[in-house]
Subunit: 280 residues, 2 copies
Amino acid sequence: MNLKGYLSAKKKIVDSKLDKYMPKETEYPQIIHEAVRYSVFSGGKRLRPILMLAAGEIFLQEERILLPAACAIELIHNYSLVHDDLPAMDNDEYRRGRLTSHKKFGEDIAILAGDALLTIAFEILSEEVKDSKLALRVINLISKAIGTFGMIGGQVVDISWDKDKAELPELEFVCTHKTGALIAVSLRIGAVLSGATKREEEALYEYGKLIGIAFQVKDDILDEKLDREKGFNYPAFLGIEESKKRAEDLINKALVKLDGFGKRADILRQIAKFIIKRKE
Amino acid sequence: MNLKGYLSAKKKIVDSKLDKYMPKETEYPQIIHEAVRYSVFSGGKRLRPILMLAAGEIFLQEERILLPAACAIELIHNYSLVHDDLPAMDNDEYRRGRLTSHKKFGEDIAILAGDALLTIAFEILSEEVKDSKLALRVINLISKAIGTFGMIGGQVVDISWDKDKAELPELEFVCTHKTGALIAVSLRIGAVLSGATKREEEALYEYGKLIGIAFQVKDDILDEKLDREKGFNYPAFLGIEESKKRAEDLINKALVKLDGFGKRADILRQIAKFIIKRKE
């Protein structure tokens, strides 16, 4: 299967569903709806929802069952980006080649847009996932993955690290929590919503954790080549060559987790390999 | 029944449950857990959870059934306060006589603490409300009440108003959305979790909407007496005397909504009257 074609087809499906779920820009108060749409429709790769859909394909689950949760995960990812970009956090002016939300709409609206994206995610989960018990389980898994013991915890450590004292364990904590938790839970939910066994769910979750860290290590390598963001990253601790080896090692371990799934997991295998091959 | 005693007894119960639900300050990363606890345990009146519990008493519902949602609502209220206080929003340095979260912990941690409070609220709702269908309904009602067509929408209009052009309808929008939506949904959820009929649920929801506006009008009157916050408030549009009349009128309408509930709604009647009598 052609990975590029697969990613672009799935991105279209996710984008179209997101468009249906998101309030229109003409609805009052317009500025907040402009702001949430501005961030969501800004050329993201939709990696997390696509991973969820690809996990569902292993079990031949219908896509429509997975799409609400896939969209919710993407909104949560975007909420985290909007808040991370704020002046009080990373103070980024551009993302994906466009002004960040607070540069475009002001800091107050950007804070509220992030809040709104998180809130809409839970609204979708509570309304569109049809099986009540599964919906609740998904809401619980997500709220744990993005809370103070997950994504928020990772961001806290990321902004609080002391340049003179930070060690590899802190970096690994940030990496597994800030980036890894949401990626891993996307795969887990793909399994949960497809009626996977506990064992299958666990294997996909582990695969997700491993590719999540590899994704961050690769990001750090690409950033290092662009001479950005010196300091608290893998190349700074391990050097470029050792970081590359680490990323490859993580991907190999991730591939092993897919061993029980046969050919239907080929897309997940290709995505794993793509994570370390990508040039941007 | 003695209202003061009732409020203080219920506050204790809510506080004790909140303490059980909130992560300990010793848990890593400590600073975020200190920050969320700092905001939640800062002398709040617990009005919203108490309203929910009082609604449940009409139907003789067991308190333990209502407490998880009551605590979640209080966490959401606190998330909204932490974000509203931020420099980019109201830029408040003190709340309830103590430094605001961003003055105490820094703006970055305050943003994340707000995010965390919202996230923990959904975690509690998905884990502690035992009936799956009701839990989902409650999550849906809350996410709508606090989204861009509810509380966030109210805050957006509040920060975007144009001093020269704002009219009473905008103020009423802010009031019903920013303050009113969360109060109203608290009462509605009290009914939903107690197996109330649609009609009873609607009556309590309407009562909640009316006391929510009255609460804000009274707040504006108290602020005006302290010579704070001139401008976008009821006394500025209506004058003090007319504002007082408006608040009384709203409370009288709210009391009518309770007519079908007999003596078991006496606490809600007393709370309604207290809202316009209070001196702070």
